[in-house]
Symmetry: C2
Subunit: 205 residues, 2 copies
């Protein structure tokens, strides 16, 4: 799709849209031509919503989740259990966990995971503010829900060492790792299966 | 992905991005979260390029291709063969044909195809301006390159009847239909194969 466009405006739009994740020049061109066929109001709405999103967004002062207010609705809700804090990598993880409707505690968004390979150290993440929250008191349990990658394991290990040193009675747990719901054993990898055997739970009716 | 977002700005961006073709709420959310992680300038560039594209774009007065000027570079080029006009459905078709680097004539963008099912009649397409171009003189051949769909066939038939009545010596052709280059006969559909037999061409070394 190496070609010259007859319009600089089209070229600019295709180049800009190609910056979206997973969007190449071909898809970007499809988006641009689609916008040309629609009403101008559509393009103005999309364009402004992108600009407003990036320039107007705020982050919760406590948990660093995106928020319209200084403190997000989850942190300020009296119905949430403020003694439990679930530590996640990103804003998206909060959404995913909220979608399960099984968690009623608070969150703490790290903004990434420790990854020496990518040059991401603990000081680049929202770890200091997590320590402050824990030291401030009132938190009984920290749930580490950072995923199951090497970076997640590293981050979990770092947080465990750091937090257990700061507050002695703090309960630190991590989300269960095991066979996915609906999956057959045949298609489960050995590492997961091994963990699911070690971390077996009592059978209850 | 039916969920409430903690931010109205995010909700607006996701809704707006979902209007792009083939983009659902899940992909739109992915785009939005990606923009949040990047520099604000990125989002401003993308947003403005979309708005500028739709509000600033012009169409060539002669062939209706998109253009920065009143008359597009193809129509105004002295190196193009102005005696041949290739009739296409959309702006994208012009790009595709230009990419082949095998065509040096002019274009005429209809802006759609005749489709009674979708309520698109000849009067809704740029057909009157094509008739005027032909009547104005200087055009020796019209190449119908509208595709191989039912709508394309209908449009080709309509244009052939209309144009051959207006100018008697006008040569009207259509792009060849046959087996795609690189395709095996085994995987070619019968209609295409039948056409490729009927429209067989002399073997030349």
């Amino acid at each position: 799709m190496e070609q010259e466009f007859s319009s600089v405006l089209l070229e600019n739009a295709v180049s800009a849209l190609s910056r979206l994740p997973g969007v190449g020049r071909k898809t970007a061109l499809r988006y641009a031509l689609h916008l040309l066929r629609r009403e101008p109001e559509d393009a103005i709405t999309i364009g402004n919503s992108i600009i407003n999103l990036r320039t107007g967004i705020k982050y919760c002062r406590i948990c660093h989740n995106i928020s319209e207010q200084d403190i997000c609705p989850i942190c300020s809700s009296p119905r949430r259990d403020s003694s439990t804090v679930c530590v996640v990598e990103s804003v998206k993880d909060v959404m995913i966990i909220e979608n399960t409707r099984q968690y009623y505690g608070l969150y703490h968004v790290l903004g990434g995971l420790i990854s020496p390979v990518d040059g991401v150290g603990p000081d680049m993440l929202a770890i200091e503010s997590l320590v402050q929250r824990v030291e401030h008191g009132g938190i009984q349990e920290i749930i580490l829900a950072t995923g199951t990658t090497v970076e997640a394991d590293t981050t979990n290990f770092y947080l465990f060492r750091l937090l257990s040193k700061k507050v002695s009675e703090l309960k630190i747990s991590q989300i269960a790792r095991g066979v996915s719901v609906g999956n057959e054993l045949e298609y489960t990898d050995e590492a997961t299966l091994a963990r699911s055997l070690i971390a077996r739970t009592p059978f209850e009716l």
